[in-house]
């Protein structure tokens, strides 16, 4: 079966060990975590994780069940099953000479990115968007030297007024 990209949202008890239980489940079963993001929610006793993995339909069903079985996990949802919004943030530190400055400014405008730090020899740029946009922006840098790159990993939320917390 074909491997597809899945965005898994997980609500977990905000306790020590929760993250390692989830990471352990992936490594023990040979699943790959492509990217991962964790932070507390408006209910501070709960953290929300967004995790991207590539696997086939049968595996993803099993994976969701295994995650749900973990005692710390409050709820699990594969966001890619329904309409959803995803965003990622990129921080890019670029080395640039005088000639490249205008080019970078132009590209940041096109992508609606922002320059958030300026020095004599470089810019740091911030960009938010879906993964394709982030990748396109990085691609557009061309010969401009990337000194450092940080990506948040994907964040996702379903469309409409349903909440992962209400489903419980």
């Amino acid at each position: 079966m074909d491997e597809k990209r899945h965005i898994i949202s997980i609500l977990v008890e905000n306790e020590f060990g929760s993250l390692s239980r989830i990471a352990g489940l992936f490594s023990a079963r040979g699943y790959n975590i492509h990217c991962l993001n964790v932070a507390p929610t408006n209910d501070e006793s709960i953290s929300r994780m967004t995790l991207v993995t590539f696997c086939n339909d049968q595996k993803i069903k099993q994976l969701a069940k295994q995650l749900d079985k973990l005692i710390d996990v409050v709820n699990v949802k594969d966001l890619t099953e329904e309409t959803h919004i995803e965003r990622e943030m990129l921080l890019l530190k670029l080395k640039c000479n005088k000639n490249q400055r205008d080019e970078i400014k132009r590209l940041t405008d096109i992508f609606r990115a922002r320059i958030i730090d300026v020095t004599d020899t470089g810019y740091t740029v911030e960009l938010t968007g879906a993964t394709e946009k982030i990748l396109a922006f990085i691609e557009s840098m061309g010969k401009i030297k990337i000194i450092e790159m940080v990506r948040s990993g994907t964040l996702g939320i379903s469309r409409g007024i349903d909440s992962l917390e209400n489903i419980k």
């Binding site: 977990v12 008890e13 020590f16 060990g17 390692s20 239980r21 352990g24 023990a28 049968q58 069903k61 099993q62 069940k65 295994q66 749900d68 079985k69 005692i71 710390d72 996990v73 409050v74 419980k168």
Partner: protein, 575 residues
């Protein structure tokens, strides 16, 4: 009531009705042991190794259904428990393991006897806790017992830093009646319509088969299962873990299935058109080649664990929930459809099964000069009238015990099915004997397995546990040798047991009685003599046929209808 952390732990155990703690003291749990000193209600069983403690608690839980409790110290205390935890976790056995941890101020400093207990045990427990305050001890215990014993059961570890058990610091204690476990899901119950759909499908079968596993025993659903099977008149097979959940002597029972299952059970699996799986998890030792598993069957799966559904084999209909309740509901739902059952097709199916039975796949060549291992189990069955608690280690003896001892009742057959842990049998027998002091408890083992937890013979003497250790001594790691014969052209690399101890002397040096049996003619009388010594542990060393193999056998990656029924070579008989 103001109590210290240690006293709180003991009180929590009492509130949960714990009778036994299996354990071994050490620095980080000395406060707890001090609080236990002189206690009249809870009996502490001092094993000779922490692995023995976990297997003993496991055997206790499997025999009587109550959670087994283990108390060990930090560092090597808890690392020695890892095999026992993995064993219990694989077979879904409810257990509570309390491990001491170094005081909070030393955690993470590589202190003496420090080990990351929750980290090490995370993959081999259903859940684990590192207690971080005195105030939370009672709540953690309450949660641990709920988690260990409900849903699909399993071992739960509670790691407690030593400073929290300090006898000088006392706090108010009240055992919570309820705890908040928002993220722990109780088994869901299935809708009437889904159960009805299953009933209809079941009744539509022309060649039905029921495949029941350990979940029936764990879920205490054997009565409900038997009621359904009798009501509907279908054939049934059991997994290794399920033996005893349906009476083996009943005519509808086809024996165990899988790698060393019977011809009739495996053939019926292969040919059936509707399969009802109950509390079983389609283990690789059961399915063989999954692409050839029950090729023409619609599959209904009843299980308490949603993650078991369609994990290995995609099923057509799943019923998730407590096995006993679902079986009861299904039995009710099936009644109106009984008249739809195609009686003549079912009769033809039974005729076919009876034909398969005539193969007598469990027959073996008898001998007057050398004891056949199969005959030992048959004789044991005869002497104990099939009513003993039988534990086993892992290997050929385990398979022979499973094949030739006909278990009519649940909880009588105690073995490490999932993890396959050698060394499990003797300590597990201790747990079973403590749960049922008046019953006959037998540990069927081999000369290799028994040496892996032999130290527990000392525990047996201390608590006067009259276990009968039946060693099928073939001077080989039998199953390893069998595989080497089949798959490595008879190169017996490291599977010959040189320097085997004199088990009779060994038993007597531990304060027990040892008996050696070498001739087929004395097998029955000497086994009887051993069983008659009701109040003593008797170690029976039986010299058996060295190169006997376990048959039938489905080799890895083959299908249910590709069994080998007799030795490879000339008289190889492929089913």
């Amino acid at each position: 009531m103001k109590l210290s952390g240690s006293q709180i732990i003991i009180e929590c155990l009492k509130k949960e009705g714990v009778e036994f703690i299996f354990g071994y003291p050490g620095g980080a749990v000395l406060h707890i042991y001090d609080a236990l000193f002189g206690d009249k209600k809870i009996k502490h069983i001092l094993t000779r190794h922490e692995q023995g403690a976990t297997h003993a608690a496991d055997g206790y839980a499997r025999a009587c259904g109550k959670p087994g409790v283990v108390l060990v110290t930090s560092g090597p205390g808890i690392t020695n428990c890892v095999t026992g935890l993995a064993t219990a976790h694989m077979d879904s056995v409810p257990m509570i393991i309390i491990s001491g941890q170094v005081s909070r101020e030393y955690v993470g400093s590589d202190a003496f006897q420090e080990a990351d207990a929750t980290g090490i045990t995370r993959p081999v427990t259903k859940h684990n806790f590192l207690v971080d305050s005195r105030e939370s001890i009672a709540e953690v215990f309450k949660k641990a017992f709920i988690i260990a014993t409900t849903g699909r059961p399993g071992p739960v570890l509670i790691d407690i830093p030593k400073d929290l058990t300090d006898p000088k610091v006392k706090i108010n204690f009240e055992y919570p009646k309820k705890v908040k476990l928002r993220s722990y899901k109780a088994p869901i119950s299935e809708s009437k319509s889904k159960i009805d759909e299953a009933a209809k499908l079941l009744a539509s079968a022309k060649k039905p088969m029921i495949y029941a596993g350990g979940g029936v025993i764990l879920g205490n659903a054997h009565k409900e299962l038997a009621a359904l099977v009798k009501n509907i008149g279908y054939p049934i097979t059991n997994t290794l873990m399920g033996l005893g959940c349906y009476p083996a002597t009943d005519n509808q029972f086809l024996g165990m299935l899988g790698m060393h299952g019977t011809y009739e059970a495996n053939m019926a699996m292969h040919d059936c058109d509707v399969l009802l799986a109950v509390g079983a998890r389609f283990d690789d030792r059961v399915t063989g080649d999954t692409s050839k598993f029950c090729p023409s069957a619609k599959i209904i799966h009843i299980d308490v664990d949603p993650s078991s559904i369609s994990k290995i084999i995609e099923v057509d209909l799943s019923l998730v929930g407590e096995t006993s309740k679902i079986l009861r509901d299904l039995n009710k739902a099936v009644k109106p459809y009984l008249k739809n059952i195609n009686k003549s097709a079912l009769k033809r199916w039974w005729t076919q099964i009876d034909k398969w039975r005539t193969k007598k796949c469990l027959s073996y060549k008898t001998s007057k000069t050398i004891i056949k291992p199969q005959s030992v189990i048959e004789t044991l069955y005869e002497i104990t009238k099939g009513d003993a608690y039988v534990t086993s280690d892992v290997g050929q003896h385990q398979m022979w015990a499973a094949q030739y001892y006909k278990f009519d009742k649940p909880n009588r057959w105690i073995n490490s099915g999932g993890l396959g842990t050698m060394g499990f049998g003797l300590p597990a027998a201790m747990g079973a004997q403590l749960a049922y002091p008046k019953s006959e408890v037998i540990c069927v083992t081999g000369e290799a397995s028994i040496l892996m937890c032999i130290q527990e013979l000392a525990t047996c003497l201390q608590y006067r546990l009259p276990i009968k250790v039946i060693t099928l001594n073939n001077r080989y790691m039998g199953m390893v040798r069998q595989w080497q014969e089949f798959f490595y052209e008879g190169r017996y690399a490291m599977s010959y047991m040189e320097a085997i101890p004199d088990f009779v002397q060994l038993a007597s040096s531990f304060g027990h009685i040892g008996i050696k049996i070498e001739k087929p003619s004395e097998l029955k009388s000497k086994l009887q003599e051993a069983m008659n010594l009701k109040d003593r542990l008797v170690f029976v060393d039986i010299i058996t046929d060295q190169e006997e193999n376990v048959y039938p056998m489905i080799k890895s990656g083959q299908a249910h209808n590709e069994m080998h029924l007799s030795p490879t070579g000339k008289d190889t008989e492929l089913a």
